[in-house]
Structure formats: C-alpha cells, structure tokens
Symmetry: C2
Subunit: 485 residues, 2 copies
Amino acid sequence: MEWTREQRYLPYEKWSALTLLKLQSQAAKSKYQLHYHIHPTSGLLNDPNGFSYYNGQWHVFYQSYPFGAVHGLKSWVHLVSDDLVTWTNLGQAVLPDTKLDSHGAYSGSARQIGDKLFLMYTGNVRDQNWVRTSYQIGAWMDEAGKVTKLDKPLIEAPDHVTEHFRDPQILMHNGKYYAILGAQDKKNQAGKISIWRTDKIDGQWEDLGYVDLPDMGYMIECPNLVFVDDKPVFIFCPQGLDKRITAYDDVYPNMYWIGESFDFDSGHFVTKQKAPINLDYGFDVYATQAFNAPDGNAYAISWVGLPDSSYPTDDEGWANCLSQVKKLSIKKGKLVQKPVAAMKSLRRYPESLDGDLEFDEGGQYELKLAIKKDQEGTLTLAADKNFEQGLKLSFSTGSHASLTLDRGNVGADVNVDYGTTRSLALPKNRELKLRIFVDHSLIEVFVDGGQEVLTGRFFAPAGNTYAKMSTGIDYKGSLWQLKDM
Amino acid sequence: MEWTREQRYLPYEKWSALTLLKLQSQAAKSKYQLHYHIHPTSGLLNDPNGFSYYNGQWHVFYQSYPFGAVHGLKSWVHLVSDDLVTWTNLGQAVLPDTKLDSHGAYSGSARQIGDKLFLMYTGNVRDQNWVRTSYQIGAWMDEAGKVTKLDKPLIEAPDHVTEHFRDPQILMHNGKYYAILGAQDKKNQAGKISIWRTDKIDGQWEDLGYVDLPDMGYMIECPNLVFVDDKPVFIFCPQGLDKRITAYDDVYPNMYWIGESFDFDSGHFVTKQKAPINLDYGFDVYATQAFNAPDGNAYAISWVGLPDSSYPTDDEGWANCLSQVKKLSIKKGKLVQKPVAAMKSLRRYPESLDGDLEFDEGGQYELKLAIKKDQEGTLTLAADKNFEQGLKLSFSTGSHASLTLDRGNVGADVNVDYGTTRSLALPKNRELKLRIFVDHSLIEVFVDGGQEVLTGRFFAPAGNTYAKMSTGIDYKGSLWQLKDM
C-alpha cells in the first residue's frame, strides 16, 4: 500500500474507530509481536521520549503514528513502570492538536519541575506549501496524567540553523534550565548540538551556540547529555557521518562521546576520546534516550528501528519497538550498558545447558553463556527443526576473537541493502560472557557484562524456536523462559 | 450524559479513532483500574464468553461495547493465557458485522472442534420497529485468531419461547453436540434452560425441550452445564426469581444447582438439592461461565458487574471487569471455588501480620488470614489514614458466626438501592480462614478454602490504602503485594 501525504497527515478524528480496533487486534495477534518490550498498540513506534522519574514511577513515552507502519502525524504514547521492566501503557498523552504541533508532536524529553512533569518537545508545523517550521514547545503533566500545553513556543529556531532543529533534552545545572537540541548549521549544513539556557522554564530562553564537538554529518538527531560515573557523555545520532571518522553499517548510526568535563554555558567539552563510538553493534538501534535518575544511576532506552527503513510487520500495520532499559557505566573509556536488575524478575523455568546441545528456546527467553577461550563456533537460534534457517551468532575466542550476528537466513528479509551481518572484534584468547535476550522478533546481546551490545530485529517463521550450539564447544549456559511484562 | 438508542447502536466505523484513543487512555489512567484482572480497554465489559482451551492456550472473550459505559452495540474481545492468570488482550475478535448479528454479537461459548475453535453465540437483530430476533450462530476461529462466520443460523428460536432466547453453551456428549440456552417459556413467561442436539455442528439442530429444573423467575440467562467431581452442575442467572425460593440481594442473582445425574436427551436432571444456591455472597457477580478443561478440572470466570446497574467509572467511559478464574470442586453438597495455583506467581514482597496491626496494603494485594474461633471484630481495608472511610469486613467466629462485607462508607456509592452490606453465616465456634484478593476497586474473598466467595467492587478515593484489624483479635496473617498481570 502506498501512503499519500494526505493519508499520513489525516487528522486522528477523521480515522474510523473500527479501523483502529482492527489495527490494534492485528498488531496484538502478530507472531512477531514483542511480549516483554514496549511495542506499539498499533501503527508505527519510533523515538523514546520523556524518559524520566516522577511521582514515584518511571515514565517513558514513545513517538506514535497509530494508523499504519509509516511516519505520519505523530503523537506521544505514555507508559509507566515501577521497576523499569514492566510497563503499563496509558495511551496517547500528547496529541498534535494545536497550531504549534499541528503536523506532529515530535520528540522531546521530560523532567520533574515542582510537583509536575514538564515535557519539552518539538512541534512540527507545515504551511500550505509544505514548508516546515519547528517550534520547541512545553507542556505540564499532572499526577493524573493530564497534559496542559503552553500556548507559546519556548524556543524558535535561530537564524544560524536550517529547518532541521529538533529533539530538545531538558537539563538542570546550577539552578538554571538548559536544553540541548539536534541541529543542522545553516552555514555549512553540518550536524551540531545546540545549547539553550533559561532561569524560568516558560521564560526567555537564551541561545548559547553549539557544543564544541566537531561537525558530524549533515544533521544530529536526538542528542542527550548524561553524566555517567561523573563524566559527561553525549549520546546522539549523526546523520550522514563520514564512515572514515567512525565506521558504521546502518543507514544512520547512534553514537556516544565521553568527556572529562562540559561547560554548560560556553559549550566547551573536554574529551580524550578521538571520535564518536558506536553505541550498539547490532542492526536497528537509534534515537536512544538517556537520563540521570534520582536513584543515582544513568539509564538509557533505545528505539529499535531506523529512519527510512521498512520491516516485515509493515504489512500488518505496525512496526518497531523499544529496547529494554540499559543501566550505564564507564569502563576503560567505553560506555557499558547492562540490563537493569529487575530483568531477573521475568525469569522462570531455569535450565542448565552444559556442553553440546540442541534445545527448543521457545521464542521468549534469556540465555546466559560463558564460552571458554580458544573456541570457535556458532550458536543458532530461531531455527526450524532441521536447522535450514536460523539466526546465527558466530564467535571466536581465539587469537582473532570476534562475534558476528547474522540475520541473513532467518526468514523474512530486513534492510538487506545495509548488510545482513554485524561483527565486533573481541579481546583475544579470553573467555566470552554473553547475556542474550530474545523476544520473538528482537535479540539483545550483552557482551562481557555490557561492554558491547548488539541489538537487532529478526523475522522467523512461526514455530522456528529451535537452537543449537556447534559441536565441541567448551561452554556453560543457563536458559530461562521470560514472562510477559 | 444520556445515551440515545441511535448513539448506542451507531456502527463502529462511524465513531472516530480519536474518540476511541481518548477513551482508551482515560480508562488506562483511572485510579479504579484493575491491574491483575481482565478489564475493558475502553467502554463497557459484560459477560465472559468462549472460555476454553485451544491450541495450547487458555482463551476467554468478553462482551464489549468500546465507546462508553452503556449497553450498546456489542462485540467480543479476545484474550489468551498460558496460566489462567496472566492474560494478553488480542482485541476485537467478533464484530457485529453481518445480518445475523447486526445489533450485537451477544454471549456464547467456544469449544475446540477439529483443529479450530468453534464459537457459538447469539446474534441480536432488530428490525425497523426495533422488534428483536435472536439467532444462534456459529463461527470458526483458526490458530492465527482469524474468525470466519457461518452464513446461516445454527438455531432459530422455536415457537415455545419468547424473544428471550440466548447465550448458547456448546457441549459434547456421546459423540454428539449439544447446546443449552437461556430461555423464557412463551406459555407462562418462566425462566427455563433449553436443550438442543446435532450430529454435525453446522447441520440440523434438534429441539429437545427444557432441562427439568423448576421454573425460575421470568428468564434464565447464561446457563452452563459443567461436570464437577463427576456431578452435573448447572450455573445460571435466574432473573426475577422469587426470593422465598432462595434469598438474594442483587438485582439478579447468579446461582447453581448440583445434580446426581443428567440425561442430555430427555433433559432429566436428578438432584438432591432442593433449591438453587447463590454462587457468590458478594455484590456484583453475574453471567459466570464454566467449562470442563482438558486438564481434568472445571474452571469458572465471572462478570463482576450487573445488568441494569451503574458504577462510578461510568463517568470515565468504562465499566466492569472479570473475576479471577476459579477452580471448581464439590464439598458436602456445595460448590467450592478456589483461586488457581498460578495466582501465587503474582505474589511479591511477603509480610507477616500477626496480632493487632495497622498497615498500608497498597491497593493491589493478597491477604491470607486465619482468625481463631470465638473472635469478633472488623478488618478495615481501603481506608484513609484516619480510618474515617473504608471497606469493612466484619467477622464473628463465636456461636453466631458470620462474615459481613460493608461497602457503605468507602467513597463513591454503588447500587445503594440494593443495600451496602452482604452477609454470610459461618459454622459456629470455628477458626475462619480467608484469602482476600484486592485489585484497586475489586475485592474477592475466598472463605474457608473457597467454600464461599464474596466478590464486590468498591470505589475508594486515591491513596486510601490503609488497613486495620480491630484490637485484641487472635489471628495470623500474611500479606503479599501482587504484580500486574
């Protein structure tokens, strides 16, 4: 089905409830549907928004287009959790219903201010000639989940940026509010992170220029500043980044840059890191949102999906999901991402896997493996009984140590133009520890305690839940079925 | 808001998706919302339908009107579970979209036949003069959840019944299919259970007359025949039953009748029981559906809600829920209803409560109590900090032993015309064992291992989660917070 612009931007009230009910049912029944990850109730999910802690609960929102697997008129869907693992979907929270967000309530962030949650986001507006204006706008959410929008923009695009100016992250520092935004500099069409400051959240915002990172690609989307082990870390999506700076395989990468210090007012960023580093070595991670939580930890959650890409569920009228929440730390100059502790609360039916084995993994599980050094083999997952198809995780723990995820022969193809394998070099002659989470059509591989993560969607035929370790591998393993969240 | 007939029967496609999204969000955010019971995603839920086991999963459906807390144009919403506790909502499965169910896909049952699930239900049709015709119709559901309706009715109302002829339960006996239906006999306007038989599910159905139970009230709704400990048990809702036959407090009761034998072909029912017995001694149980599962057990699930009644959530555009699943057995001529084993999988944060105590129960919990004999007191739940309001469970375990649930001073009133207390006589001078499940606005009290059950909705202000046992009571207790399902 081809979607016209008119269809994609049809107001929500013009769609019929019957269409929506059928889309919701179709998405819920999909064999690819996620069971312990945040997924759309219908239509397309993209960026996580407003990841925050407020009123005794964790909050996250996702960018939603409810009527199909296309980037149409966007709203925010709201979810809450007590443990960062089990989320309750509270439905559409921010609708594109004012003249400042008429063509989409685009991405943004949230932060508790006083006794309310303040949302800061990009209002997307198109004029009759389809010329875009982006407004950075605000809204207050109360404890009952009621959202009241401010009637004036907080920030309008300054002269030095193009129409690409969006995704505000609201921060607080020394008693003032700051916002960082993704921007395209007008002069050289380069990707930048723009900084703003105000004393009063709905007062006058002051343009502080750009963070003094090098120009990256032609646009930076979804910038985040988060303090991890006391170091400032920027997490962002540089579009069009030269692969000679940092190699990546997806259409656009999600990267990070760890600093030693950051001056909010001048944008001065001191760093020992030479170039951005890939946040994830899998296939589909983008628009990661991170924040410093009141419990002292920094947490991140990612969109598992990519811009300008299509997925097999598009035909079922839904697409994409969010990753599990990842707890951030720094080790030897690299960002470490670990599952949160409460992920263990999903475990049931533990099994030991020691030595060579074939087993039925069931499609929704955690697999913990320790593979001894100097081994070389392949773990096949999501396979048919005869192992003619399957998701392959190949490893070497010898002198040319590496890990490769291959989704080239799983079932339905995904974004094959960008390759069907992703590889990662590993420290040589060392034991390899993996925690692998599979949720029907999603795999998340945490390598050596989260020092690297490989995330990817895969689309296997129903019933392909067989697994096999290649013969002769010296390893130990544990398998748990995981409950629905 | 007053609903006109036109509004209530407006086709689903005429409602806007925006209205539905707002209703869904409002229901999800309600402080009264259920967290481990089946509840409507929006609008009104009534009877459980099609409670069954098929394709390795438990299935249940509920009667749904998605657009408000009124009895409008009904459809079936489908849910599946692996454990009878955690249910996944798969959305609208049977829509009122043919000329045989144009004014509602009303209640019915389900049973695996071959490799599909066969649904048998009442199609409600109104003509231009709003005269009703009820068709008993069928549909096949496949493993992917796709529903294909038969294009001819299975059964049309025979001459000896009025327009009140509905709620088929499909059964199998000696290689033939049987259906029992709720009926109003035309001659004396009495409530009856009608029996039908066929060799071939979509073939000719034969009218076998009525089950030879006494006339009960003016109509019987939702009849079920289930075999419990090898005895035939009818569970049904006699409307207008003379209270001198069996006393009851609600507008309509849900009752059962245990037999020694039942002859499917003649309708002959041998029983030692003199009169129907109340299935539940609480406030809001109706339309219970029960079936014999392949695991050898008989299970029941109830609508917690009543016909012709209003609830405080009506103003939020949603109403009612289903009970937890109850496992049936017979003890001393009475039907025993127990929580299923997997309910324990929801438990977390165990606490011991021994002796006099005030505690914060949190709103979503299981409380297990053993109250010694010859005690008299009150357990107050869902109370404010000062215990000015609360849900009261008063007990005496002395010579006039009884249990009374009082929702008269909780917060918002419910159906006060039918009284605000429900009482139950208990065996005298005996220890009393209670398992109490609370889910925000629902209480289910299992008395002495399920020998009696009291179920009721209650509507307390937000934050009223304080509990107190009256002083000097000799008891032991355990409290668990319960996870969301």
